[in-house]
Amino acid sequence: MADKNRVKKKASAYEYQEIEYNIKQTNPVVKVFIYIFLIIWAVINIFPIYFMFTFSLKSNDEIFGENIIGLPRNWLWSNYVSAMNTGNMGRYFLNSLIVTIAAIAISIMAALMATYALTRIKWRASKLMNSFLMLGLTIPLQASIVPVYVILSKAHWLNKYSTLIIPYSAFTLSMSILICTGFMVDIPYDLDESARIDGCGLWRTFFSIILPLMKPALSTIGIYAYLQCWNEFMFANVFISDSAHRTLPVGIKALSGAYTTDWGPIGAALVIATFPTLIVYIFLSRKIQESFIAGAVKG
């Protein structure tokens, strides 16, 4: 769907339009309304973060009733200590990081290779194969949990990092291929031709010409995959039974007991699970948004 000319022109067009086409020209009343709307919406969207943060510093009494949305009366930093100590959150965080990164890496590699075969080598069934792989976009994760568990356990493949890495990369694969396709069709086919003339085989063309050009795609795929993997609960709960390999969502759930629940440390754990993402997001937001946008335009 990306119109190459359009993309190329984008930069110059931006500068040009700055004079003509921007909000400054809008009727001031409308302008004020637009800003009020945007600011209200922004507050609504920041509120959960504020809520989560204050919630993590409160006692049960305040959380359930006395003081739900105000600032904590006593700032219970001890909630963080207990989340880190008893909850083992540091370990779970690391596990989540390992699993997510590895899953993204595998997904990207498999997707790049598959996309190359689908878009840059001409063969009859490539369209059909593509649609087949796109089936994955619609399959609900929970539908396959028990069969996958049986397959993995038959292969004696439980309680390892790879137990989660492989299913996660499989579930993000379709999206990755979709995005890759968008990027790869933008690479001029002349490049392949000239590589062929220079005597490059398909493999060398892929590794030395296509791969380096696909760099911008990586962060886009990474972000989409990250959104799918980082908070995944069901697979992580069922497939991993030793706490050494547990991931964050399961760790957070394990904090809440059957009969008693102390919510402060749970809030602290939620903050530990969420804030690193948010901080990275804030620092890299421009880059991340651009990648995300790139994904949308190409996909």
Partner: protein, 309 residues
């Protein structure tokens, strides 16, 4: 057989066959990792599910083959509530498509106009997407809480106490209580998708339209929206299939209650598998879910194609 052919043709052909085989092997090797993952983790389980959906099986002892009885029971047994769950999922889908997406589009168009602080707004609007649904759900529970929740307190403050409800506990409001946060959380996601499209629309085009006397709204309506239709299509597909798969928010807010009126297919599926020990029926629901998601994706694609034609 090649012996019957002329030598030259023969050798060319042989080269070609060789080349084709080589190409075939290469294609296969390039596709192999993806196919292994895809077939092993996604397709094989579906096949197993289809097979298991024909059984009355509790998941660990011997099962009995019962053909399509599970499928029949799904629609005839009133206590399974599959039709209710389907109806709920479709309501969520409806609100996603007709409330969430228009809002996303509106925000995307606004931000696409070079508003001051565009990037900051964009970052903030996207944040809920990054926060786990568990956190969002907990937050909304506090908003809905009948005694000390924000919503009821607000209604009291503006002297509308008679509008107070036990939001997640009453049949009339429970589904709505699920739809609001679900729709809200992913507005940012679709907004960013659409914003990307809006930014991709050539400025020359917009200006040409403006010079012809069009207002900004008209430009958006007649120039920008038609150009980002493909992205809107992707958004619609994601919104609908995502709604059919919705799970977390329901589990946290209502647990499918009251009286199972807010069940969705995924919560039913989990109940069947892990609470009721009806693995066969659970498989049946998952097969139905996959079929539905796929059917909707096809239907939406077809609908958009029709409109373009």
């Amino acid at each position: 057989m090649a012996d019957n052919n002329a030598i030259t043709v023969n050798s060319i052909k042989r080269d070609k066959v060789k080349e084709n085989i080589g190409k075939g092997v290469t294609i296969f090797l390039f596709l192999l990792p993806a196919l292994l993952l895809f077939v092993g983790i996604l397709i094989a389980p579906i096949i197993i599910s289809v097979y298991r959906s024909m059984y009355d099986w509790n998941g660990f002892s011997e099962g009995t083959f019962i053909g399509f009885s599970n499928y029949k029971e799904l629609f005839t047994n009133g206590s399974i509530k599959f039709l209710v769950s389907l109806k709920n999922a479709l309501w969520i889908a409806f609100f996603s498509v007709f409330v969430q997406l228009p809002l996303s589009l509106f925000l995307a168009l606004l931000l696409g106009r070079k508003v001051k602080g565009e990037r900051t707004f964009l970052s903030i609007f996207f944040m809920p997407v990054l926060i786990s649904t568990v956190v969002i759900g907990q937050l909304w529970l506090k908003i809905y809480n009948p005694d000390y929740g924000l919503l009821n307190r607000f209604l009291d403050a503006v002297h509308l106490g008679n509008l107070k409800h036990v939001w997640v506990g009453e049949v009339s409001t429970a589904l709505g209580s699920i739809i609001v946060p679900t729709v809200w959380q992913y507005i940012g996601y679709h907004m960013l998708l659409m914003y990307a499209g809006v930014k991709g629309v050539s400025m020359d085009l917009r200006e040409a339209a403006m010079l012809d006397g069009a207002t900004k709204w008209q430009v958006d309506r007649y120039v920008v929206i038609p150009m980002i239709k493909p992205i809107i299509r992707v958004s619609v597909i994601f919104a609908v299939t995502g709604s059919l798969k919705s799970y977390d928010m329901v589990r946290i807010l209502t647990e499918g209650g009251p009286f199972q009126t807010t069940e969705v297919p995924s919560t039913l599926l989990e109940n069947m598998l892990f609470l009721r020990n009806r693995y066969g029926m659970g498989s049946t629901i998952s097969v139905m879910l996959i079929v539905l998601c796929f059917a909707f994706a096809l239907a939406i694609t077809a609908a958009f194609r029709e409109e373009e034609a």
